[in-house]
């Protein structure tokens, strides 16, 4: 069991955790956090793949590293835009619920199963 394996499993688990949070957490802000967790898992996957491709005196393939740096910045921008939307929604309606029903949230069953 090498570092690559350990972190590869860790990355996959982070993806799973992020997905679970994204599905089940009702508050948008929690969904955004879960999305970030999911994203970091995917980036780690790139890191693991780059680490497997270590060669030519590089401990990690530089191409996946560059892709991750680009990806991190994109994910940060996405987070910022999503949070701005959540805050504006809160300012306008006093609630941040995503479901289309009245924002009172009484008795609606959003589980959908």
């Amino acid at each position: 069991m090498s570092g690559v394996t350990v972190f590869g499993l860790c990355a996959a688990a982070a993806v799973g955790l992020g997905l679970y949070g994204l599905i089940t957490n009702p508050q948008p802000l929690r969904k955004i956090i879960a999305f970030n967790l999911l994203g970091s898992g995917v980036f780690l996957l790139f890191g693991v793949i780059g680490r497997r491709g270590a060669a030519a005196g590089m401990g990690n393939d530089p191409v996946p590293q560059a892709l991750v740096i680009t990806g991190v910045v994109v994910a940060f921008s996405a987070t910022a835009l999503a949070i701005a939307l959540v805050l504006r929604l809160f300012q306008t309606t006093g609630s941040t619920t995503l479901s289309n029903a009245a924002p009172s949230g009484t008795g609606s069953n959003p589980s959908g199963d």
Binding site: G8, A12, A14, Y20, Q27, R30, N36, V48, G53, L81
Partner: protein, 314 residues
């Protein structure tokens, strides 16, 4: 099993533990705190993966500024929490857990069966470094081999700014983003905001400069500069500029703009779009990176500040 592997297993376990806590903890504020800690430890994983450039980026942008963003939002939304009652039912939770676990397991399986020896572009990146005379291959990939992605990603940042600004109330358009912060002028925050930025600016520029040959670069340096700017704003020493400011807008497009200009110059006079003549590659790339660090610092700072909400003088 070597000590290094044990350390890696412990690190991965702690990271995952923090991840679980972040997802399941009741209060949103605790979740954000958990996420910040998670982000910093993930940076350690990146160090273990020998990807120092990414570790710096992850710590500065993913954990650091992202954490500030989430904490700020969580603080503002604290009052909204009791209103949210539509929590997922148990059946949904179980289904979601099963599906997420299956997806994660599939992914893990796919990673474990990747071929050995792994394909890599590291030798190609290293052997083509002559074209830019920069010794950091990651910078080479970002600025030369895949310069298009980097340029487009700068436009993504700009669009995020436009998107955030477009959420302003119409009456506040052209005004300053975020609230005007006040702090005790003799307090410790103001003290820090006076002491730290000079050091931080030096460190930021150093990170940019060293990025040519060692881990570092415009993203990481820009994040540090943005943090210094935000510190000064939070201490009330500076105000966010109004979004109608022409100078601000010039700074926000400086990075992609210069990138585009150099790229088109390459199309017209050089060999190709986004190609650099080998003799001038290094100064050109450094010039773009200087423009980019300004753009990135301003963009990250303004993304944290949010939509314009008050006109000048309010």
């Amino acid at each position: 099993m070597s000590i290094a592997t044990i350390f890696e297993i412990v690190l991965a376990a702690v990271v995952l533990g923090l991840g679980i806590w972040t997802i399941v903890v009741r209060e949103t504020y605790s979740a954000t705190v958990g996420f910040v800690a998670y982000g910093l430890l993930v940076a350690l994983i990146w160090v273990r993966l020998d990807a120092i450039d990414v570790a710096l980026t992850e710590a500065a942008i993913g954990g650091g500024l992202g954490g500030v963003l989430l904490l700020g939002a969580a603080a503002q939304l604290r009052d909204s929490e009791p209103a949210v009652t539509d929590a997922a039912g148990n059946a949904v939770r179980v289904c979601a857990a099963i599906l997420s676990a299956l997806t994660a397991a599939t992914l893990a399986g796919a990673v474990l069966v990747l071929p050995d020896p792994a394909p890599t572009l590291a030798p190609a990146a290293v052997s083509n470094a002559w074209a830019t005379s920069l010794a950091n291959p990651v910078t080479n990939v970002l600025m030369a081999f895949r310069a298009m992605d980097t340029m487009l990603e700068k436009v993504v940042l700009l669009l995020a700014i436009i998107g955030v600004w477009s959420l302003a109330p119409d009456s506040a358009w052209g005004g300053h983003p975020g609230p005007r912060h006040q702090a005790d002028p003799h307090g410790v925050l103001v003290f820090l905001a006076r002491l730290l930025p000079p050091i931080g600016i030096v460190v930021g520029i150093y990170v940019l400069w060293t990025g040519a040959n060692h881990p570092g670069g415009a993203f990481q340096g820009g994040a540090i500069l943005a943090a210094m700017w935000l510190l000064a704003i939070m201490a009330g020493l500076a105000d966010t500029p109004p979004v109608s400011s022409r100078r601000l807008r010039l700074i926000l497009v400086a990075g992609p703009g210069l990138f585009l200009v150099v790229g088109i110059a390459g199309l017209l006079f050089g060999s190709a779009f986004l190609s650099y003549p080998p003799a001038q590659a290094k100064p050109l790339i450094l010039a773009i990176e200087v423009a980019m660090i300004l753009t990135i610092a301003a963009t990250l700072g303004l993304l944290l500040a949010g939509a314009p909400e008050r006109r000048t003088g309010q």
